[in-house]
Symmetry: C3
Subunit: 351 residues, 3 copies
Amino acid sequence: MGTHSIDPAGARDVWSTATARNGLLHFIDICLRGAGQVMFQNNPLTGLLFFIGVFWGAHAAGMPAVAWGAVVGTIVGTVTAWCLNAPRENINMGLHGYNGVLVGCALPTFFAPTPLLWAYIVIGSVFSTILMMAFTHMLRTWKISAMTGPFVFTTWFLMLAAYNFANIRITGLPHPTIAIQPPASELYGLDLLQFLRACLTGISQVFLINNVATGLLFLAGLAVASLWAAVFAFFGSALAVGTALLLGAGTSSILAGLFQFSAVLTAVGLGTTFYHPNWRVIGYAVLGAIFTVIAQGALNVVLNTYGIPTLTFPFVIAAWIFLLPNLDLPPERIRDKSVSGVRGQGSNHAS
Amino acid sequence: MGTHSIDPAGARDVWSTATARNGLLHFIDICLRGAGQVMFQNNPLTGLLFFIGVFWGAHAAGMPAVAWGAVVGTIVGTVTAWCLNAPRENINMGLHGYNGVLVGCALPTFFAPTPLLWAYIVIGSVFSTILMMAFTHMLRTWKISAMTGPFVFTTWFLMLAAYNFANIRITGLPHPTIAIQPPASELYGLDLLQFLRACLTGISQVFLINNVATGLLFLAGLAVASLWAAVFAFFGSALAVGTALLLGAGTSSILAGLFQFSAVLTAVGLGTTFYHPNWRVIGYAVLGAIFTVIAQGALNVVLNTYGIPTLTFPFVIAAWIFLLPNLDLPPERIRDKSVSGVRGQGSNHAS
Amino acid sequence: MGTHSIDPAGARDVWSTATARNGLLHFIDICLRGAGQVMFQNNPLTGLLFFIGVFWGAHAAGMPAVAWGAVVGTIVGTVTAWCLNAPRENINMGLHGYNGVLVGCALPTFFAPTPLLWAYIVIGSVFSTILMMAFTHMLRTWKISAMTGPFVFTTWFLMLAAYNFANIRITGLPHPTIAIQPPASELYGLDLLQFLRACLTGISQVFLINNVATGLLFLAGLAVASLWAAVFAFFGSALAVGTALLLGAGTSSILAGLFQFSAVLTAVGLGTTFYHPNWRVIGYAVLGAIFTVIAQGALNVVLNTYGIPTLTFPFVIAAWIFLLPNLDLPPERIRDKSVSGVRGQGSNHAS
């Protein structure tokens, strides 16, 4: 089915030449690719559209620190990888930026932006790169990638610790609670506009943003790198909305995108990054997205006990479980192609 | 010490010939072996006796959905393995049925049998096979088997998620609670008949059934495949009863078999499947069973916080820990025999 | 930078000759090395000073069972390794004693010293050796060591289980609680003497002892084997005090050493055992110690839910994460030296 993309080849060449000549542009290129890799796209234009979406959504929510945190996180994560002599090709693909960008988005979403929080963001981004190198080494044993695991574990550690540290001011973490089923009063149907809205916020929430326009910008960002990725992201989100409604998840959570964002990543990852789209792959990605919604519900219950959110861990666990069997889903696997424009989050071809 | 079995060789030959000729009989054979593999027995007669025990116990408890769930789970798990091209020899040994049969037993034990629950059972059985393939690939690194891990994790995910999903009606899950020690009033001694009863319910609870007759049927099922397996199952259960009484576990839980069923699996697995019975192996299996009782207590405390049961995870963790050191316990290990009638749960000889 | 040590070479030779001749002295040597290995020192004099510190601290706290538990745990752990045919060279280095000594310290700290508790200590020390062999086999895949993981998991299992077992009397476990941030009233500054006190209790808490003199004895024990180890232990503790104060941890916990003991182990391990001291290693060890303090806060929150303490797990997780990337931090790595007087906790060179 080949790689379809609306990224104009001419502009790409100009950019390649410019980044090869200028160190600062090269660094910016890496940071943009880092943002793009959050959804598996090794593409600076994708990353640019993602950053625009994040700034738009953070501004609309009155939380600019979320966007600036994203910038700081990407830079620190990338620089740390340099200092620790991570393989240069991985750095250049943005594989040491995507965890930092998410750490930087997440912390100001849940904590007050005090000076100490910025220190927390910096040290968290450093840790996310060390964890990235640790996960990559460990998971190479089974030929699977770190996904957003380093971001998730780093941020969980920082969040949990905050309950012990009075100088980090918690503003947005869920109250620690014991599990109860949602009352029926929290369930209601969605009309078509609400359904579309839920599909788009499901995409924007990948960066912890609840904003329809951001969702559209993210779809555009995917489309410039891979039309298939945009298609899987949208329908993955729609499938998650449907599954969550059928099972009876709280409707306001669905409208905020909270049962969908991990399924979006699972659908794009299984459908277009680790496998090439074909009917069997579509079936497998559908199973993976449904599993992700169930994992979202399960992890909500476990983590609410401690007063922390799941972040993208439902995606991480689904991707690991569905990739571990190492299924052969013909016609071909991207992994087997020695030259490929699309490379997965955290995949390490240096092994 | 050889393999003793009261399975008549003549009947076995007739059955082998019949299954080789008829596709439906072949499929039934695989499903029966799937049930047998729950206690490590690659034997259709064992599986038949297990199914009879499950139907008897489910009927006696007025919960027929538990038994039908077991049938559905076995079939779906096995068919999924076929669709995903799992190694044919593993499928034929029932290694893709034993997790599904347990998923099918467990869900109707804890949820109301609504139409949506049957969808939940089907999708859960599909996931259990994917997890089985994932675990098998991962654990091959250390030459250990998946045990009932895929069943446990699949069912935990489905149970935890249900607290987020109002349309899955919880009927039997424990209320989420913070740990407290049982009051002394919950402790009392057992007379010999009660002790025997506890030994047998400890065996029946492997399939989540609390029934003495089912326990006897399961022992008979083990005996037709391996007398040693039946002996280790019974004395493993007795040892667990003794350990739990000595430590002061709640007596009503012991009578219901809840501190024993995982120890039964550990004793049979360590004593007869992964090692051959001899004095050192018996000592190691005794240690393993005692550890399993302690793990049962520990996991009760952790998982009660979330309102879910341990299922057979105390066995899984004990088996992994006790097999990982890869001890050489002579005279011989079954694993090293290229031809063997007894094969372990999830062991994969295709690697 | 070489290995500096104030252990007199003459006395060492006399001891070596004596242990080679006398079986009992040889066994005592192994047990002392086991205590030394808690802080990575394969040195009997270190172990002797550690035992003196433990007896002193346990006596001062009126809890002699803590010290005798340490003795029993070391002996049982070591003997178990013999019975299970663990590699003789690992046993001789004390690698099967250091988990048992900690199990023996921990259980009487949290439980009443009833006869049943002594059975619990014996069986726990047996398990700690089996877990040691299991972890060692598993972690060899990534060339990292078990650290104090076997102690931690064994003791967690035994503690959690106690909430189910009325005959094990809990005296010191934290009440299971849901997370809340400490009130500002729990924060106050430290004067220099209090700061020094916190640095030393942070070292003594490695063996669950809250005692300044014990901290000094432990520093002396480190110094006789490696001056660098003593330096990293002290400054690791000081750095942890500073980090915890800055973040706003409860000051009384800091005075009791509870945010420091794991950081002490991380600093000594990263700075002197798994790497040789140089500027980049110092920087990496500083990052590791800061991460350990944050992990301490995070794990406090998670484990308080179940009413158990973190033990040294913040160190274990930090060491695994910081060693997994397998960084090359020149000039040289101890691991690469075929002959070395300093060997890490649980490192297995037989692989």
